[in-house]
Structure formats: structure tokens, C-alpha cells
């Protein structure tokens, strides 16, 4: 399987942002994309099926992105899942907190599609080879 077969979970409480991210990913060739509105359903999804990458907002009405990150990292079964934070919380203190809790990469909104796709490639490239997609490119 190629990297473009990676299963990606998009978590954002804003529907237009979920739509936009999905379209960016689809245009880049990613096909297995699921999305949800906050950390609670996101955690259920990650525990119920193969997810190769989580892209999550920080501030959401329910479980926030940083809470989701902590719960994922604390879980033995899903703890290695690559996690990309995509947020308006660009303050240094927020970045530091996310990296302290094991985020794979951190992108501030607003973002260029190219920057998001490059970050995804980097994170998938660095991920533990357990999910079946090749690291050798498309």
C-alpha cells in the first residue's frame, strides 16, 4: 500500500474546516479520510478501526485536541498513532505543551495546503512501520 492509502482522521468542531481539510487531502490523493467534531467521538474511532494519522484542532466544544492527544498517548494500543495539531493556538506556550505531550507536528492556522501536505508526509514518514502503508512514496 502507498502512503496515500493512509487512513486519516480529521477532528475539528468547525464543519467548513473539516470540509476544507478533506478537500485538500482528496486533491492530494488521500482516499481513506474520516472526520468528526471533537475528541470524544475521535477517540472511539481511533480505537475501533485502523487510523494512521490524526489531524486535530485544539479548541473544541467537547474534548479538546490536547486532551485527545494525552488520551491517545496514554493508551497502549493506539499510543503510537501519529498526531498532527492544526490550530489557531500558535502561542509558544501552546506549542511547548503539545510537544511535551508527544504531538508529532504542530501547524498554526491559517495554513497553506502545501504546508499541511508536507507536514503529513513528514509525520507519516517518521511513523513506526506498523500500519501497512509503504514509506517509499506513492
Amino acid at each position: 500500500m502507498s502512503k496515500k492509502s493512509a487512513a486519516i482522521l480529521v477532528v475539528d468542531d468547525n464543519e467548513s474546516m473539516r470540509t476544507m481539510i478533506r478537500k485538500v487531502l482528496e486533491r492530494a490523493g488521500y482516499q481513506d479520510i474520516v472526520s468528526t467534531y471533537d475528541g470524544t467521538p475521535a477517540l472511539k474511532i481511533v480505537k475501533s478501526r485502523r487510523i494512521d494519522l490524526i489531524i486535530s484542532d485544539w479548541n473544541m466544544f467537547g474534548m479538546t485536541g490536547i486532551e485527545l492527544l494525552k488520551k491517545v498517548r496514554a493508551d497502549r494500543d493506539i499510543g503510537q498513532t501519529p498526531f498532527l495539531m492544526l490550530t489557531v493556538e500558535g502561542l509558544e506556550v501552546s506549542r511547548d505543551e503539545a510537544f511535551a505531550h508527544g504531538v508529532s507536528d504542530f501547524i498554526s492556522k491559517p495554513f497553506k495546503s502545501r504546508d499541511l501536505l508536507e507536514a503529513i508526509e513528514r509525520v507519516l514518514e517518521a511513523a513506526p512501520e506498523k500500519n501497512g502503508f509503504s514509506k517509499k512514496g506513492d
Partner: protein, 152 residues
């Protein structure tokens, strides 16, 4: 309000609209507004606390926001839909976040609430504070919008 603070909101607005929607907004001269009527058809409002407190509102005319969201989502919109309102909330959120990041370099730590969206002709903007606000007008090829900052 300090000019440096107004500049942070101008720069953030241009950055967000240009980066997310490929539209180049031109900033006009800021002025003080004393009433609460919106200068457009749909508004995103977000509360700010910390080193500065108050709220930020971003009000778009219909033609302007239809073009911006059409570019963001890659599909044409012919009216103000729920998807457009949702995008206005996120644009407001991003302008607030980008401005807070810039103001951090001025030594100000500001946190933001989750945005709300109001729409309709002649709708009213309810800022957190009751005082006058500073309006920064912007023009685009598809219409105008304003950033309305009411902070102390």
C-alpha cells in the same frame, strides 16, 4: 487603543484571508464607531481576555464572503448558507489567533473564547464591552468587510 495593536489586527486579517482564500484585501483608514449596527450581512464575534479584554467582530458583505468561502472550499455559493456562517466563525477564530500571536511579541498574553456568528440585513453586534470600537474597513474585488475591535 495603541496603533501597534490595530496593526496586528490589520496584518492578521490580510494574512488569514490571503492564505486561506487567495483574496487580497486592501485595508482602509481605521475609524471609531459608536453604534452597534453591523456594516454587512454576516458577522463572526469572539471574546478576548487576558492582557486585553473585549471582543473582535468581523462583518462581511454577502458578495465578499461568498467569494472568500467559495475559494476556501472550492465550490460556488449563491447565498449565505450555514456552511458560509460556519466559515465566518472559523475565519474570525483564525484572525483572533493570528493577532494574539503577533501581540504576544508586544508582551501581551490574550486568550479567546469560541466564536459565534450573527447574520441578516442590519443585524446588531453585541460586543463584550459597551464602549466605542475601532473599525478597520477592507475592500476586495467582490465587496467589502470590516474588522470591528472593541478592547481595553
Amino acid at each position: 487603543m495603541d496603533v501597534k495593536h490595530i496593526n496586528a489586527f490589520i496584518d492578521s486579517t490580510v494574512n488569514v484571508i490571503k492564505t486561506m482564500a487567495f483574496v487580497d484585501p486592501i485595508a482602509g483608514k481605521p475609524y471609531v464607531k459608536t453604534d452597534n449596527t453591523a456594516h454587512g450581512d454576516v458577522t463572526g464575534i469572539i471574546g478576548l481576555t487576558g492582557s486585553m479584554r473585549g471582543s473582535l467582530a468581523v462583518t462581511f458583505t454577502e458578495g465578499c464572503i461568498r467569494k472568500i468561502v467559495s475559494n476556501m472550499l472550492g465550490e460556488e455559493f449563491t447565498s449565505i448558507t450555514d456552511e458560509i456562517k460556519d466559515a465566518v466563525g472559523e475565519i474570525t477564530n483564525m484572525i483572533s489567533g493570528d493577532a494574539r500571536k503577533r501581540l504576544q511579541y508586544e508582551g501581551l498574553t490574550i486568550t479567546a473564547a469560541i466564536p459565534t456568528v450573527v447574520s441578516g440585513k442590519g443585524h446588531v453586534i453585541s460586543h463584550v464591552l459597551s464602549g466605542p470600537s475601532v473599525i478597520i474597513p477592507f475592500s476586495t474585488d467582490n465587496g467589502s468587510f470590516v474588522v470591528d475591535v472593541c478592547i481595553v
